[in-house]
């Protein structure tokens, strides 16, 4: 019997030899995004409104604040354009793996001409599907490879959320100032906590812009970050927030998708600044404001391009100005004068007078950041390639919509690796 097994193995190996004669290995050189030949989006064949079918792939369901934000936007965009419910297929709870590819394929089978996926880890699988179905348009939120993939039917998008977080940071800073003035703690004790999901650029860029916003009104502030290593974990987020509060944090913000951190804040009476959804129902006495991306403008553009037979940009960064970055209404817990301060800063941001990542406002290891190579061309090699400090600021989301700011600046402490 062993002989038979050996024979089978031999046959399998011979097949291997026969089938894979040569394999090309191409040396890839590190190129700056400015030198890469960028993808031109394909012109889309016009689809009549009644024939259009739109597919959506969501990581979790509406219980996750992150996905709820997308689901709400999808409904709003379809409703605004008069796309009937029967023309929309939403798949929730699709993990970041092969299932994404299978689901995309299912959506193609069901007749969708345009498919949207909402989570970063969906990207390689969506690209796999895009290669297989060149006539179907694939749009991906938070992806990094729309410009460089060379496909024409694969598109990525993100928004200038760092501006929104900066503005939310101003609200947080004003609250700290109010508490300092009321004598609750001293200027030097002004420390905030941040519950992040994973230690990578999107999260780092998010908390740094938030911190810079706080610092712009409360200069003595420091920040402690804790990672949960998960996008959605109520228990872990709750524990992390409690640990931060125990470490002396006077205000908490988060970049993770559950209600874990806001409810921990409400229980401890610690002010909270949220992300993606209005949390004033979870924290009636502690929620201040939330910043969020509104995907309605992008999804509207995407569907409109299908109806008009134009094209969807290979990579698109939706702006604060067009309403893709929003702040929820300030609650009664905010400090007086917050709205005015936010409005003033917003106007300056829109005019370009104020830059979030102005290198004059922060230091790295005690020094001003003069030059920094960011990994903008995402070839999966994690080799930084593009100079990101231009004219005294970090050019976040200008070379690519997905964030690439991943520097830990002074004043922020992160857990040791």
């Amino acid at each position: 019997m062993k002989k038979l097994l050996a024979l089978l193995l031999c046959v399998a190996m011979i097949f291997c030899f026969a089938a894979c004669g040569e394999n090309e290995t191409e040396e890839t050189k590190v190129q700056s995004i400015d030198e890469v030949e960028l993808t031109t989006p394909a012109t889309i064949e016009k689809v009549a409104k009644a024939d259009l079918k739109v597919g959506f792939i969501f990581l979790h369901d509406a219980n996750s604040t992150y996905d709820k934000n997308f689901i709400d936007a999808a409904n709003a965009a379809c409703e605004a354009l008069g796309i009937a419910d029967t023309q929309v297929i939403m798949k929730t709870g699709i993990p970041e793996g092969e299932e994404c590819y299978t689901t995309a394929k299912e959506l193609v089978t069901a007749g969708c001409q345009v498919i949207f996926a909402d989570s970063f880890g969906h990207e390689p699988y969506l690209i796999k599907a895009a290669k297989e179905f060149p006539k179907v348009q694939f749009c991906h939120a938070t992806g990094t490879r729309g410009k460089i993939e060379g496909l024409g039917n694969y598109h990525t998008a993100f928004a200038e959320i760092y501006k929104g977080r900066y503005l939310a940071g101003i609200a947080a800073g004003m609250k700290l100032n109010e508490l300092i003035e009321a004598g609750k703690f001293t200027k030097e004790e002004a420390k905030i906590g941040y519950v992040g999901a994973f230690p990578y650029a999107e999260v780092i860029s998010g908390y740094t812009s938030f911190y810079l916003g706080v610092k712009s009104v409360c200069p003595t502030v420091t920040m402690e970050v804790q990672y949960t290593q998960s996008w959605f974990d109520i228990e872990k987020e709750n524990t992390a927030a409690k640990a931060l509060i125990a470490n002396g944090c006077k205000l908490i913000s988060q970049h993770a998708d559950s209600s874990g951190a806001p409810s921990a804040c409400e229980a401890a009476g610690i002010p909270n600044v949220a992300y993606n959804v209005d949390t004033s129902n979870i924290g009636p006495n502690t929620a201040i404001i939330s910043s969020k991306i509104s995907w309605v403008p992008y999804m509207t553009k995407m569907i409109q391009a299908m109806l008009d037979g134009t094209s969807i940009p290979a990579d698109y960064c939706a702006t604060l100005e067009e309403g893709a970055v929003q702040l929820t209404a300030l609650t009664k817990n905010a400090a007086a004068g917050t709205q005015e301060a936010i409005d003033a800063a917003k106007e300056k941001l829109n005019k370009g007078e104020l830059k979030v990542f102005d290198t004059a406002t922060f230091t790295v290891e005690g020094k001003e950041l003069k030059t920094y190579l960011a990994d903008v061309v995402d070839l999966g090699d994690y080799v930084p390639d593009t100079e990101a400090i231009v004219d005294g600021r970090f050019i976040e989301s200008e070379k690519r919509s997905a964030p690439y700011f991943n520097v830990i600046i002074d004043g922020i402490t992160v857990p040791a690796e």
Binding site: V11, N23, I89, G97, E98, K105, E106, T109, F133, G380
Partner: protein
């Protein structure tokens, strides 16, 4: 007194064992079973969606075979469905020799996962260093070896100290998952605990497409394993030894079979085939690694093996049926915009019916005749 009513009344229903069921009768019982399953699932569909159940069955068919739009590319939908069936079949074949020996190996999930891990490790470590063919062979051998080792650990403990293999193999699944998580953690450089698609731009360690279609390699390997397992169990001396040990260890000892050796050897073969499946999943299909990459197939395979009464040939239709049901119902539920769980319920109805058929082929149900009461 209590002994007055000693005379027992004949029960309304009682069950007797059938001696033997003719092939034709067994077919009829199964047909009735499937008809009952179809009626029950139709009723469920009507009550939940209010749609014509025929439409849903058509959607299930499309989900398995694919529509022209879905079959444009290299990954033909029907090939994909067959491939999922082939993977399930191969794991079912892997667990069968151990089951025949009454060694309750429920660790196939972990053994396959360890095979995946070995392949993924080789892909990342040796990709680009050696020729792709050599790399594939290294991956294949590593996966088989690791799968076998993972299965043999509980087998040795069972043979030497008579430990409970069910708990042991089950626990080994969780150890394997944790090892994979650890591997991802140390290899990941994105900070997101996700390796994405391995060697995505180079294609190192990918099984090539044959005849312009992917999955063919894996399907051929599984076909080979079916033939091997059929011959091994039915005609080889070792296959006979497995049946004897399964029937009675004492008999086996009496006729001079080294029971410990047979246990360890058989479980090693089980594990090796599981490892081979791991190789097929990573090199020939998913090209990625995650703790849940096997997706519970290691457990479904146990059911397939039992439903086919350990016959490798019957396992082919059984595994295809189960896969078609789950793939088809998953697609149909999304087309009808009902929750995915409805698909699971439909699958469960059919499987329950088939298991019920087993009952009716083995036992006869007798009703109390009227007039016999006293």
């Amino acid at each position: 007194m209590a002994d007055i009513k000693i005379k027992q009344k004949e029960p309304l229903i009682h069950i007797t064992k059938r001696d033997d069921v003719s092939f034709a009768k067994s077919i009829i019982i199964h047909l009735i079973g499937i008809a009952v399953a179809l009626v029950l699932s139709s009723l469920l569909i009507i009550s939940v969606t209010g749609e014509n159940p025929l439409k849903l069955f058509k959607a299930m068919y499309e989900g398995v075979i694919g529509t022209p739009a879905a079959n444009m590319g290299i990954n033909k939908k029907y090939m994909e469905s067959i491939h999922i069936g082939a993977i399930l079949l191969c794991i079912s074949l892997a667990v069968t020799p151990a089951f025949k020996m009454k060694f309750w190996n429920i660790g196939a999930e972990g053994q396959v996962l360890m095979g995946c891990l070995a392949s993924a490790y080789c892909m990342l470590e040796f990709g680009g260093m050696v020729d792709n063919t050599v790399l594939l062979i290294i991956m294949l051998l590593a996966s088989i070896l690791v799968g076998a080792i993972w299965a043999v650990i509980p087998a040795i403990c069972k043979a030497l100290w008579n430990t409970n293999e069910t708990l042991f193999t089950l626990m080994m699944n969780y150890v394997a998952m944790t090892l994979v998580s650890y591997f991802i953690m140390i290899k990941d450089r994105s900070g997101r605990s996700d390796l994405g698609i391995l060697n995505e731009r180079t294609g190192y360690g990918y099984l090539p497409d044959l005849f312009g279609m992917n999955y063919i390699f894996n399907i051929l390997i599984v076909a080979g394993v079916v033939v091997f397992m059929f011959i091994y169990l039915k005609y080889s001396k070792q296959g006979y030894e497995i049946s004897v040990v399964g029937e009675s260890e004492n008999t086996a000892r009496y006729i001079g079979i080294n029971v410990k050796k047979v246990i360890i050897r058989t479980v090693a073969i089980s594990g090796a085939i599981c490892g081979l499946v791991g190789f097929m999943i990573v090199a020939g299909d998913k090209h990625s690694i995650k703790p849940d990459i096997v997706g519970g197939q290691g457990f479904t395979a146990i059911m397939v093996s039992w439903m086919a009464k350990f016959n490798p040939i019957i396992m082919i239709p059984v595994s295809l049926l189960i896969v078609f049901l789950s793939v088809g119902s998953k697609f149909a539920t999304s087309a009808f915009k009902v929750d995915n769980s409805i698909g699971d319920i439909l699958t469960a109805i059919v499987i329950f019916s088939i298991i019920a058929c087993e009952f009716f082929t083995r036992y006869k149900v007798n009703f109390r005749k009227f007039g016999k009461e006293d």
